[in-house]
């Protein structure tokens, strides 16, 4: 089982002409965890990942994998697996041939090709030309390319984009499994809600600069006040009970949104008033709110 090594960005900057795409970015991605690399479209995520992979030369700073620059890795695809864009396939080549071309280039055993096709669920379509693939199938083939060398480090750019609900559920579990095996997993996304169920850590950038990094829970503390969703077969009674307890609330389609209280406290109010409760849970949107507050600073987008 390959083990992950840390990814390290040290003062990485990139200018395209007069445009500063990435400015002085420094952070570390640890093995054994899934790290979400988040930011709005155009924040510099893809450029940052391309600098890590030696495709774009940084204007300043360095990005290393286990202390080694990508282009100095002895067997790159067996050290780092990456999926950068869904369109990187020759339309006239089959999925199997696409993978075997790069297996040859990277000296990877050709037996890996059917294995990774099976892993991503493309075995049945392996001998079709990629030109006829759907976006979701291209995403899966991109992931198969990333897994080809059974690498300890995975770098995936927007891996959930274009997948169907079943695929999203599958990839979330799969990313968790890869991290549990000790690999380093870095995934980018412009939507926190897309990855919040699978990531341990978050690195958030906006306009090319770091705005936040830390465990996912760090967003909760800094985020807006938590809200509790509660509902009852008899909403009128529940609202009366909450009003009586001088609790502020809003009525939404999914239930009644209570601010400033823990679920237990809301449950106690309902119990004391003898109101039956049909649902009672904490609303997760606090994370998204604090994410948007961070990346929205200074009016990006």
């Amino acid at each position: 089982m390959p083990t992950g090594v840390p990814i390290e960005f040290a003062g990485v900057s990139k200018r395209f002409g007069s445009v500063a795409a990435v400015s002085d970015l420094s952070f570390r991605v640890e093995p054994g965890r899934v790290t979400g690399f988040l930011g709005p479209n155009g924040a510099g995520k893809t450029t940052t990942l391309r600098m890590l992979l030696g495709l774009v030369t940084p204007t300043a700073g360095s990005a290393t994998i286990g202390g080694v620059r990508y282009r100095d890795l002895l067997s790159p695809l067996s050290s780092v697996g990456s999926a950068l864009e869904a369109a990187s396939f020759h339309p006239g080549r089959t999925a199997r041939n696409h993978l075997s071309v790069y297996a040859k280039a990277a000296r990877i055993d050709s037996k890996r090709v059917p294995i990774v096709l099976e892993t991503v669920g493309l075995s049945a379509h392996a001998d079709r030309r990629v030109g006829g693939y759907s976006l979701g199938m291209r995403q899966r083939l991109g992931l198969a390319f990333a897994l080809l060398g059974d690498p300890g480090v995975l770098v995936l750019d927007e891996p959930i984009n274009g997948l169907d609900p079943e695929g999203i559920k599958w990839i979330r579990g799969f990313l968790r499994q890869l991290a549990a095996e000790g690999r380093t997993v870095l995934i980018s996304s412009h939507l926190l809600s897309e990855v919040q169920q699978s990531v341990d850590d978050v690195v958030i950038i906006a306009r090319g600069a770091l705005v936040h990094r830390g465990p996912l829970s760090s967003l909760e503390i800094e985020g807006a006040a938590t809200r509790v969703i509660v509902d009852s077969p008899n909403r009128e009674q529940l609202m009366a009970a909450l009003t009586a307890a001088s609790v502020s609330f809003d009525v939404a389609r999914a239930g009644i949104l209570v601010s400033g209280l823990e679920p237990g406290q809301v449950g106690h109010i309902a119990f004391s008033a003898g109101v039956e409760v049909s649902s009672l849970h904490r609303q997760k949107s606090g994370l998204e709110d604090s994410f948007l507050a961070m990346v929205g600073q200074g009016g990006s987008l």
């Binding site: 893809t46 450029t47 391309r50 992979l53 030696g54 495709l55 774009v56 030369t57 990508y70 282009r71 100095d72 890795l73 790159p76 695809l77 990456s82 950068l84 864009e85 369109a87 990187s88 396939f89 020759h90 339309p91 006239g92 080549r93 089959t94 041939n97 696409h98 075997s100 071309v101 790069y102 040859k104 280039a105 990277a106 000296r107 390319f145």
Partner: protein, 274 residues
């Protein structure tokens, strides 16, 4: 160096797993067969229709090598196109990302591509020779003319034609790196090989000083390498500059391939892949 052979194998696999290489090879086969057979039939017919040497037709002893050499005079555009497409499709289909992820040493990828195309160009040369010798000799035999297939000079020339097409494919790699836009590359190649170069060669034949420059044109160098009498040098005998020796022509083609590839490396190949 330990990544060169894997990169080379990958480049061979890239060509073999798409259709363009055999489509172009079939067109080459049919086209050269048609040209060689057609010209052979034309001159064969002329030679039988009168006792005199017909006006404008090449002398009989150079007819066979001229037909066999049509593989390079008319066919060299095919390996150039294949070489250019091998490079420009990497840009067009955004394949440079996976390519450079698998082989981060970019110069090695370009070197592997040139080596691959040298071999595929030689294969095109063999395919073209099958067409030019097959159709040409067949038609000559039909008219009872000398096929010169028992002459070792003929086979040496055929071998040099194969080398010429191999070098042209490598030139195509350099052109593709220099002009990464696939449509632009194809337009430039077709315009240059089908119009610009023939025009320049026709023009430079008329003056000695111009001819000494004209022999540096890539198509002229290619003809010098192959050494087959072509339509260009049969009509303009004695207008000055001696054509190059075959090895000089070969070196010129190789130098052109090298220069184009090195310039292309710096112009496009080593740039950021975004």
């Amino acid at each position: 160096m330990n990544l060169f052979f894997p990169a080379f194998r990958a480049e061979v696999a890239k060509l073999l797993t798409t259709r363009i290489w055999w489509i172009l090879a079939i067109i080459l086969l049919v086209y050269i067969g048609f040209v060689s057979g057609g010209l052979g039939a034309l001159f064969g017919f002329l030679s039988k229709s009168g006792d005199e040497q017909p006006q404008g037709a090449p002398p009989m002893e150079i007819l066979a090598p001229m037909l066999y050499g049509s593989v390079s005079t008319f066919g060299y555009v095919f390996p150039v196109l294949l070489g250019a497409l091998a490079v420009t499709s990497e840009y067009r289909h955004r394949m440079l990302t996976p390519t450079f992820l698998a082989t981060p040493k970019r110069g090695m990828v370009l070197g592997a591509k040139s080596a691959t195309l040298l071999i595929f160009g030689a294969i095109y040369g063999v395919v073209g020779v099958l067409a030019s010798v097959g159709a040409g000799a067949g038609v000559l035999a039909l008219f009872g003319l000398d096929t010169q297939l028992d002459n070792s000079d003929t086979w040496a020339m055929v071998g040099r034609a194969v080398l010429a097409l191999a070098l042209w494919a490598v030139i195509g790699v350099g052109l593709g790196a220099l002009i990464p836009n696939q449509v632009a590359a194809i337009v430039v190649i077709l315009a240059f090989t089908q119009f610009v170069e023939p025009t320049l060669r026709a023009v430079t034949m008329f003056a000695g000083w111009a001819a000494s420059i004209g022999r540096f044109l890539p198509g002229a160098a290619s003809d010098a390498l192959v050494g087959a009498p072509s339509l260009f040098n049969t009509g303009a005998a004695g207008t000055g500059a001696e054509p190059f020796e075959w090895w000089q022509g070969g070196l010129l083609l190789a130098a052109l391939a090298l220069v184009l590839t090195v310039v292309g490396y710096f112009v496009s190949w080593k740039r950021d892949v975004t």
